[in-house]
Assembly symmetry: C2
Homo-oligomer: 282 residues x 2
């Protein structure tokens, strides 16, 4: 099997024109690394049931990475999180300018749907993939999550609202990645739903873990408990470190139970991707 990394390098968005940097800007953040977690979730589900379809599933996997990358580029903008760096590299608006970063994000958002539309699957599968990505990544999904995060940056929310925020901002796209894999191999609606629910919980666990790691790492560095004073809606601020740990543990246990109820093929394929994350807050 061609690796995803190789496929990505060979299939960067193309746009030949007399614009001197546009095409390069489109590919730059895609190449800048990351865990490729969303594409991997999709590919692993496909591999579990239909190894011969993995090759064709690289295009939808790339669509997920394009979509995720668009969201990172826009989140980093001065009007949003205003981040000069992403994974140690200058962000796109720092390297070029804001307009280029906005447009590169816009292009990657739309490009994800072009990749899905042209994927080598039956039309009914392709249109279902489009629907899943557009629903979970759009108006009621990822974009709403980011809007909530920014709007309430300095306003403490209820814990249930913070959960809702992270479900939308992060978990829905992770859940969508698993569901898209399930659609490609034609898994039953119920299993699709189980994978989707698993993805939602997994995304939520990641966020709690990130908050815990932020807290404990900065504590070590500072040599004291610093608190997460920059973020009024972190799980640490709202629940405290101890209760956050308890909730992360509880979610990890739930996820393990759900995981072990999956078909052994699915367990085998997802295990290397999932298991190492479940207890990383410990």
């Amino acid at each position: 099997m061609q690796t995803f990394e190789q496929y990505l390098q060979d299939h960067l968005p193309q746009a030949e024109s007399f614009h001197p940097v546009y095409e390069k800007a489109l590919g730059e953040m895609l190449l800048a690394g990351g865990k490729r977690f969303r594409p991997m979730l999709l590919l692993r589900v496909v591999e579990a049931y239909e190894p011969l379809l993995v090759e064709s599933a690289l295009a939808p996997a790339l669509a997920l990475e394009c979509f995720h990358t668009y969201s990172l580029i826009h989140d980093d903008l001065p009007a949003m999180d205003d981040s000069p760096l992403r994974r140690g590299n200058p962000t796109l608006h720092t390297r070029y300018d804001e307009a280029t970063a906005i447009l590169a994000g816009d292009a990657l958002n739309t490009h994800a749907f072009l990749l899905l539309a042209r994927a080598a699957f039956r039309e009914d599968i392709r249109i279902k993939l489009v629907e899943i990505l557009a629903y979970n990544g759009g108006t009621e999904g990822m974009v709403l999550g980011q809007a909530m995060d920014l709007y309430f940056e300095n306003t403490p929310l209820e814990i249930a609202q913070v959960r809702q925020l992270h479900v939308r901002k992060t978990a829905m796209l992770i859940a969508a990645s698993l569901q898209m894999g399930a659609v490609i191999v034609g898994l039953e609606k119920e299993i699709q739903q189980a994978l989707y629910d698993f993805g939602i919980k997994l995304g939520l666990l990641f966020q709690i873990q990130d908050d815990i790691i932020d807290e404990t790492q900065s504590s070590e560095e500072a040599g004291k408990v610093t608190g997460n004073d920059g973020d009024k809606n972190s799980f640490i601020t709202l629940l405290g470190l101890e209760e956050s740990m308890v909730q992360a543990d509880a979610l990890a246990v739930e996820l393990e139970e759900q995981f072990h109820a999956f078909d052994v093929r699915l367990q085998g394929a997802l295990d290397p991707l999932i298991q190492k994350y479940l207890h990383r807050h410990r």
Copy 2:
């Protein structure tokens, strides 16, 4: 037939949440008016051949308007054209803030594909609609056109490059609107292509006409020929008023010839929408 305007009001993007302005911001620029030219092109083509399908075609028509509106919201941003007003109303980033405007644009971009994915047509038609919108509105289409426009704002281009810029920035989405109508009613590839080509030329004519009208209106207002000094790549700056008029006339004649080669049903349906524009520069 339900009017498009009524349909739009009844089908604004929904996103119930505890965010106090997000849902409103999503709908605001959609409701702010405009000619609804792209949806109308699609609907007229459908009406010409399959009046009974017009009702179902309202969703793809709305997808086009969502997509067009996302592009206006982003074009108006401070990092782009920095426009405080759009059609006499405050732009979204003026009314709320930049982050809200970026996110509303992002949401409408993705929402267009959700509407297409859920439209009441066969899967093969829906996936073709997704492909046409994603291709013409994306990486190699509208987004590239806007990137060119901004990048070369203060650098004079060759006239062929300016044409290419406007084909991408404006004409491809207009052409896509006609082609999407053709796909919905199942017109042959050749007629689809003829409609697409017609749309490209029509989009280009609009741009030349806009430049001419800008020039002649500002002249009247100022009582003298002011020149189009703010825009180094207008057709007026590059060709002069007289030659721009000659080229607009020539394009209008070409378009009329192509128009009269269309099926009479198509001519009848498109006539009220097209004819009044062909000579508006005179």
